[in-house]
């Protein structure tokens, strides 16, 4: 597996305003290689907005996000090459089978060395590989979206409520994947309502109300 050099994702006095509502302001944090940042907070406090800002989809109202010391808006494509984002929507095509969905990863970024079969095996969908995604349950679709993370060779994972619809086994699997990713020098920023068991991993928590 690829071992990564030291790098960090940093937020400097970030703020986000929705209409007249200040979701957060003057937010500072930094996540380095091998670290997990768990964002906690009640519904509507701006977790999704923060993750979308970190991904670059949304523009912050003030402050800056930097990757390896450079502003992500300036980095553009080279930042997106290193970053994988999983939002509320799985980004799964219902008309295509699990296998066909995963074959699309080359559109979304750098393809890792892992084979699609291995990824399907890891997330426990190899028996459903030929089944149309429309026939999968919500949890299975989420697993498929996680498989996409394994197939794109991205160092930074931004995950918005990744545990939605996952069963206990799915959550355990997810925890393993995250631990493995950071052990290899990856960075994970995630928001979650669930208590994650990430012992052994270098975990930071950020909760705001």
């Amino acid at each position: 597996m690829t071992q990564y050099a030291d790098i960090s994702l940093q937020a400097d006095s970030l703020s986000c305003i929705r209409d007249t509502n200040i979701l957060f302001e003057n937010l500072n944090f930094s996540v380095s290689a091998g670290e997990i940042l768990v964002i906690e907070g009640r519904n509507g406090c701006g977790k999704t907005s923060l993750l979308r800002i970190l991904s670059g989809i949304r523009q912050q109202d003030d402050g800056r996000v930097s990757w390896g010391g450079e502003d992500i808006q300036k980095l553009g494509a080279s930042y997106r090459e290193d970053m994988a984002y999983l939002g509320h929507l799985d980004g799964i095509k219902h008309e295509l089978s699990s296998l066909e969905n995963l074959e699309l990863v080359s559109i979304y970024g750098k393809v890792s060395e892992d084979s699609i079969d291995d990824a399907l095996e890891t997330i426990g969908l190899s028996e459903k590989a030929e089944l149309k995604a429309a026939n999968l349950s919500a949890g299975q679709k989420r697993r498929l979206a996680l498989a996409r993370l394994l197939l794109t060779d991205c160092r930074l994972w931004l995950l918005d409520e990744p545990l939605t619809a996952l069963d206990k086994a799915g959550i355990a699997l997810f925890e393993e994947l995250v631990k493995k990713h950071v052990a290899e020098g990856g960075i994970v920023v995630l928001s979650s309502h669930h208590e994650l068991k990430l012992e052994g991993a270098n975990t930071k928590r950020m909760s705001w109300s």
């Binding site: 991904s55 494509a77 799964i92 095509k93 080359s106 559109i107 979304y108 970024g109 060779d153």
Partner: protein
């Protein structure tokens, strides 16, 4: 080694969109069906005056093709927007404009091309002289991709709106009018025995311009729609 290949991404996306259309055929047939219905209803309304039908044929075929394309525009980005694929596309390190172009080409292949195949049959119903047939085909061959390209900017701007249909027509129709004028004008010239070259050149110029100029604003508009 992990790799990043733009040509692979382009062809994969194009194939994906074509495969998706194959999987939901009814949606794909709609535009061409609409076109055939519109073109075959007109003679009932106008009466079967051969001369009149022959005279209005270029206009009917062109307006039908234009409206059929417009009806199908929303499909370019709608399903990708709703299932989150669009988000993933825009976060891909590949240039968004190139990915947009792949999607527009796929759209033309499933709507423009069938219209092109149906058009001569419709024109025959109206008794369009056979000398004008090549001009009709060429004008549509050059004109329909313009409709898809220009339309993609409109859809990209309105995809986040729940009822963006009316706004889409308001945005896109004025830009379609020149294409309609040059397209049907070319066919009319050919019917009257004149050379349609000037109109065809004009259409070609518009196609070249929109091929180069529309993917960027479309990509920018998609970013805006997602944020």
């Amino acid at each position: 080694m992990s790799k990043l290949s733009l040509s692979k991404a382009f062809t994969t996306l194009l194939q994906r969109d074509l495969l998706l259309v194959m999987r939901r055929r009814s949606e794909a047939i709609n535009p061409v069906l609409f076109f055939i219905i519109v073109a075959s209803l007109f003679p009932f309304g106008t009466g079967s005056d051969n001369e009149l039908l022959q005279k209005i044929a270029p206009g009917i075929v062109w307006v039908g093709a234009l409206l059929a394309t417009m009806l199908s525009l929303d499909a370019i980005f709608r399903s990708d927007f709703e299932d989150g694929s669009l988000e993933q596309l825009m976060l891909s390190p590949h240039p968004a404009s190139v990915l947009v172009l792949a999607k527009v080409i796929a759209h033309w292949l499933v709507t423009g091309l069938p219209l092109l195949i149906a058009a001569p049959f419709m024109a025959l119903l109206y008794g369009l002289p056979s000398e004008a047939m090549p001009t009709l085909m060429i004008s549509l061959l050059i004109g329909t991709p313009i409709l898809s390209l220009v339309g993609s900017v409109g859809v990209a701007l309105t995809v986040a709106l729940r009822h963006g249909g009316v706004i889409l027509s308001l945005l896109v129709l004025p830009l379609y009018v020149p294409v309609l004028i040059f397209g049907s004008g070319a066919v009319e010239l050919a019917v009257d025995g004149f050379s349609p070259a000037a109109n065809i050149y004009m259409l070609s110029a518009i196609l070249a311009l929109s091929l180069v100029l529309t993917p960027w604003p479309a990509a920018a508009a998609l970013r805006l729609s997602l944020s």
